[in-house]
């Protein structure tokens, strides 16, 4: 096997491990939120260290790859994309940890069922989780068309978020004693929306890798 192919394989493996870790954190955090599961929340918070370490590891290999191999064309796009995607993944894991922190420390009681429905939390979680898994598939299959779908879904998530904010505003007007709770919930919903955003960024990075086209800052 050619020398550079070997390096690329090693880098890919470390990057996939990053995906594994962050995927685990994300799914767990949504479960913890659904069930107010404090044990799960603790697991997530403990694992955050491992995620950070993995990010440093991938960064290390990306730096080596660029400094030592002076990559061009596909190899160059590959390593730059890996760099950026890893960074986005780490942020997503951060958001998952924040959700876990809410469940563990800030949540005093389970979310009111009616409110839960109005906020359409379940839908937001389902959509963003779906986007994440699609992004992983898109990267492995180098499928830029799938990335387009992901970006469209992000628009949906943004709309849901806008509606959720309005619902929260109505709720707090009717239940002012719940103000603190609502503020925390706002943070949680914001995190979910940011997870969608970051996943959208990952989709853009994948398109750059595959097509060498810049999709950033464009309306989709």
């Amino acid at each position: 096997m050619k020398h550079i192919e070997n390096e690329i394989k090693i880098l890919k493996n470390h990057h996939i491990e990053m995906w594994n870790l962050v995927q685990g954190q994300l799914i767990k955090s949504y479960e913890a939120l659904r069930k107010s599961d404090k044990t799960l929340a603790r697991e997530i918070i403990a694992k955050e260290r491992v995620v950070n370490a993995q990010e440093l590891l991938v960064d290390h290999y990306c730096e080596s790859f660029i400094a030592l191999f002076s990559p061009v064309a596909l190899d160059f796009r590959f390593v730059i994309s890996i760099f950026k995607i890893t960074n986005n993944l780490e942020r997503i894991a951060d958001f998952a940890e924040n959700i876990a922190l809410f469940v563990l420390y800030d949540q005093t009681k389970p979310i009111d069922k009616v409110l839960y429905e109005k906020l359409r939390l379940e839908e937001m979680m389902r959509l963003t989780e779906g986007m994440f898994l699609s992004a992983r598939t898109a990267l492995i299959n180098e499928d830029s068309h799938l990335c387009g779908e992901i970006l469209k879904t992000d628009n949906q998530v943004d709309n849901l978020y806008g509606n959720a904010i309005e619902s929260l505003a109505e709720y707090v007007a009717e239940n002012p004693e719940e103000a603190l709770e609502v503020l925390h919930l706002n943070s949680v919903i914001r995190r979910i929306e940011r997870i969608g955003d970051r996943t959208g960024n990952i989709a853009e990075d994948i398109v750059f890798f595959v097509e060498a086209e810049e999709l950033r800052h464009q309306k989709f």
């Binding site: 050619k2 020398h3 730096e63 080596s64 400094a67 030592l68």
Partner: protein, 250 residues
């Protein structure tokens, strides 16, 4: 464990002070690259390790060069025997005007090996190690000159491997070759590192960064910086090194 150890070496061509106080150690089964501008002494230093500088008149050396625990400039050292332990590949491929088989077998014959079966086996293994066997296995009697430049260089590598050296010195082995041949030779070096210690002089910094574990930067006869290749190419300790590597030289 350092298999090669240079201790404060100075070297002179007539009055010209070519190497100044060079001290460095090279680990076994590693690839070490020597880089630097033309005339900086890297090839001179390389040739010290198999005493090829002895073939040049009016040269002088001070300091110690220890290879595999032995000071190779000691008076008792059998220089020809040293050269079977420390092999060399030259910049321009220099196969002998003999057949492919005879080229690879040359070192063995010279050492006294006559057994045909031994010769055939060693030739085959060496050509395989040099990634040339598949291309020439049916034409071993063909003249070496009929091979392409890249093939000739791999033949020279096979020829050097045949005498089973511990160390292989390479003096810009790919500089006379096209990119595809160069790439083949780099892949070859990458696989050879498991069984041999390799020291390679190269003008091509990307080559040094791709294949070496450690890199030594020479300038005007001095060893300026020597360290892990990753360190040298990410954040060299000295500005002079950085200037050379980034091409801001001179």
């Amino acid at each position: 464990m350092d298999i090669i150890s240079a201790e404060n070496i100075d070297f002179y061509y007539d009055d010209f002070h070519a190497l100044k106080g060079i001290s460095m150690g090279i680990e076994e089964n590693s690839v070490t690259a020597l880089i630097g501008p033309s005339g900086c002494g890297k090839s001179t230093f390389l040739r010290l390790m198999n005493r090829m500088n002895d073939l040049i008149d009016n040269t002088r050396m001070t300091g110690n060069l220890i290879i595999d625990g032995q000071n190779i400039y000691d008076k008792k050292v059998d220089v020809d025997s040293l050269r079977t332990k420390v092999g060399m590949v030259f910049q321009k491929p220099n196969p002998f005007p003999k057949s492919i088989f005879e080229n690879v077998a040359y070192g063995l014959r010279v050492a006294g090996e006559k057994d045909r079966y031994v010769l055939e086996e060693v030739v085959e293994n060496s050509l395989k190690s040099a990634a040339l066997w598949d291309e020439v296995k049916d034409q071993l009697k063909k003249s070496a000159f009929e091979l392409s430049g890249g093939q000739q260089q791999r033949l020279c590598i096979a020829r050097a491997l045949a005498i089973k050296p511990k160390i292989i010195l390479m003096d810009e082995p790919a500089s006379a070759l096209d990119p595809l041949s160069t790439s083949k030779i780099e892949d070859l070096i990458f696989t050879l590192r498991n069984d041999y210690t390799i020291v390679i002089v190269t003008h091509n910094m990307q080559q040094a960064s791709r294949i070496s574990d450690k890199t030594a930067f020479f300038y005007l006869g001095e060893l300026i910086e020597y360290g892990e290749t990753r360190q040298m190419f990410l954040k060299p300790r000295l500005e002079a090194t950085q200037n050379y590597i980034t091409g801001r030289f001179g």
